[in-house]
């Protein structure tokens, strides 16, 4: 079976080099505010892509990814403000903490199917949220933690931006490799036909749990990067409305495309910063956009384009791969 995603390794390599060159050159052309925005987009894009591993590729109804994002962010904040350890420990521990909690939550959730799975992620996620929200001594409760101090080279807008570009590129590359690896293909098989994949020897629960933990780990990385951009954390980072926002990004971009969630993140963050600052009713507008996407292009913007355009980079079809073999 052909498991290439977009052409061969060589073209992918050049695509990545081109994208990197574009991203790295950005701060030389645009103002600081837009660099900040670009950093925010990258963080959200990484977060949404990590969620897509579970929702898009694994077909699980994961309703509360924000927990792992928030845990990543809080780990950095706590290590820097409450301990005298070097700052980078926080960035290492953040994703690990997120992955550990993901393992604990996932261990219970993968026993359930469909809506029940979704509800348990919601219940356990809100449980973590309420602990963070109420544990004043450690987390600062609903105030959160502000003024997180970072080394000077990370404090400048472009400094944090470059750090995020580098970490982000590595993460996207790993993700890309992963969804095309035997593990990624098996995971998609469990989504498309659980019974059959189980009968050919794929351990359903183990694949789902692995995907859940990996997704939590990368959401944790996105959370730590978020601290670089905002330098403050609050319990809202773990609240379910943020999870809903990221699910919307996945849907708007297209859940069955590798770059779909990233496209959704770009679209929504840009829309919010341009329209949201002008119009008073940004949320209602977001609602209308979401409504239109659900009703008319449920496959997402990228999914729609790849159906309509017979050429170009949109032609990669992850979702329909099973049709080829």
């Amino acid at each position: 079976m052909q498991v290439s995603f977009e052409g061969n390794t060589k073209t992918v390599f050049w695509q990545i080099i081109l994208a990197l060159a574009f991203l790295v050159s950005l701060p030389f052309f645009i103002s600081d505010y837009y660099v900040y925005l670009a950093a925010l987009i990258l963080v959200r894009a990484l977060f949404a892509t990590s969620l897509n591993l579970v929702v898009g590729y694994g077909g699980m109804l994961h309703l509360h990814p924000a927990v792992f994002f928030g845990l990543g962010a809080y780990s950095v904040a706590l290590i820097i403000t409450k301990t005298s350890l070097p700052f980078w420990i926080g960035f290492v521990l953040g994703p690990i903490a997120a992955a550990l909690v993901a393992a604990a939550i996932g261990w219970f959730c993968v026993r359930l199917e469909g809506l029940y799975f979704g509800m348990l992620t919601l219940a356990l996620g809100q449980l973590v949220w309420s602990v963070v929200y109420r544990w004043y001594e450690v987390t600062g409760g609903d105030d959160g933690i502000h003024g997180i101090d970072l080394p000077t080279w990370l404090k400048s807008t472009s400094g944090s931006y470059f750090a995020i570009v580098i970490v982000g590129t590595v993460c996207f590359y790993i993700f890309y490799k992963m969804v095309n690896s035997p593990f990624g293909v098996a995971l998609q098989a469990t989504r498309d036909n659980p019974q059959r994949s189980e009968s050919i020897g794929i351990d359903l629960k183990r694949h789902r749990l692995t995907a859940f933990i990996i997704s939590g780990f990368f959401a944790g990385i996105a959370g730590t990067l978020f601290v670089m951009v905002e330098r403050s954390v609050s319990p809202n980072l773990l609240y379910w409305t943020l999870s809903a926002e990221v699910l919307i990004m996945c849907l708007v971009g297209g859940m069955h495309k590798f770059w779909g969630p990233a496209v959704g993140a770009v679209t929504l963050v840009l829309l919010r910063s341009f329209i949201g600052s002008q119009a008073n009713y940004w949320l209602a507008l977001l609602g209308v956009i979401l409504l239109l996407v659900v009703l008319f292009i449920p496959q997402g913007v990228l999914g729609y384009l790849s159906e309509r355009l017979p050429f170009g980079p949109f032609k990669s079809k992850v979702g329909e791969k099973h049709a080829q073999c």
């Binding site: 929702v55 109804l61 309703l63 219970f108 026993r111 359930l112 469909g114 809506l115 029940y116 979704g118 509800m119 348990l120 919601l122 219940a123 356990l124 809100q126 449980l127 309420s130 602990v131 929200y133 109420r134 379910w240 409305t241 809903a244 699910l247 919307i248 849907l251 009713y281 949320l283 209602a284 977001l286 609602g287 209308v288 979401l290 409504l291 659900v294 009703l295 449920p298």
Partner: protein, 292 residues
Amino acid sequence: MDGTTMLSQILVGLSRSMILFIVSAGLTVVLGVLRVVNFAHGTFYMLGAFLAFSLAKWLSFSSAGFLLTLFIAPLGVALLSFLIERFLLRRIYGKEHLLQLLLTYALVLIISDMVRMVWGTSYKSLAVPEAFSGSVSILGSFIPTYNLLLIIIGPLTATALWVFFYRTRMGKIVRATAGDREMVNALGINSSWVLAVVFSIGGYLAGLGGSLIAPTANIVQGMDVSIIVKSFLIVVVGGLGNIWGTLLAALIFGLGESIGILILPRFALIIPFIITTLILIIRPTGLLKSVW
């Protein structure tokens, strides 16, 4: 902790459970019959509270006016749900859960912004109408009359729903629709309208819950997102679509919260989530039989 504190906490918990039950009953009925997960249910609840506030204000906060409000404000919500079902919801029946969730989440965003447009961002509060503002002594502990009213309305609602679903012709049709839509159509009943009616009933119950909570809590933006997660969990713990299960789960939730305050004051918020998690791990499909 002495017996009277315990008793009054239990009574407070009971009255809270009843509101949770009324809201969750609407959600579970919609889930059971339409098979749609409605995120906007919490927003219907909030809308009910705001409508009740405006209506009660218009009726100059009289006790009789308040009782009238309890009937009329939910009707407004039911009307809105009816329109939503006809124009939006019926396009996504049978689609994946995630699409349904996100469509109804779009409604959350739109309606709550509309509420902000109409009522503004400051919170509203509605005094308990005079006829219910006193308190009653039960075994030495005092409980507000209004809470007693809630404790009575809860089981009444449950009974009314039971009578509707199991003792009327319409209820029989609704149950048949939940079981096999095509068969209902084949018998010459337009099941599409049945679904619209059921969704309106769901909206009515959410609105009723909102109107009932109005005199006991601040009516404020954001009350929708905090109830909807609880409501979802209650529905799942009770067994999807099972009204008695929902009542049982609402009691566990409400009492867990109010008794939890006595034991672990700061982490009382967490107790219902722990209970839910335990139940879902031990009995993944809920306490009572799910209709799915």
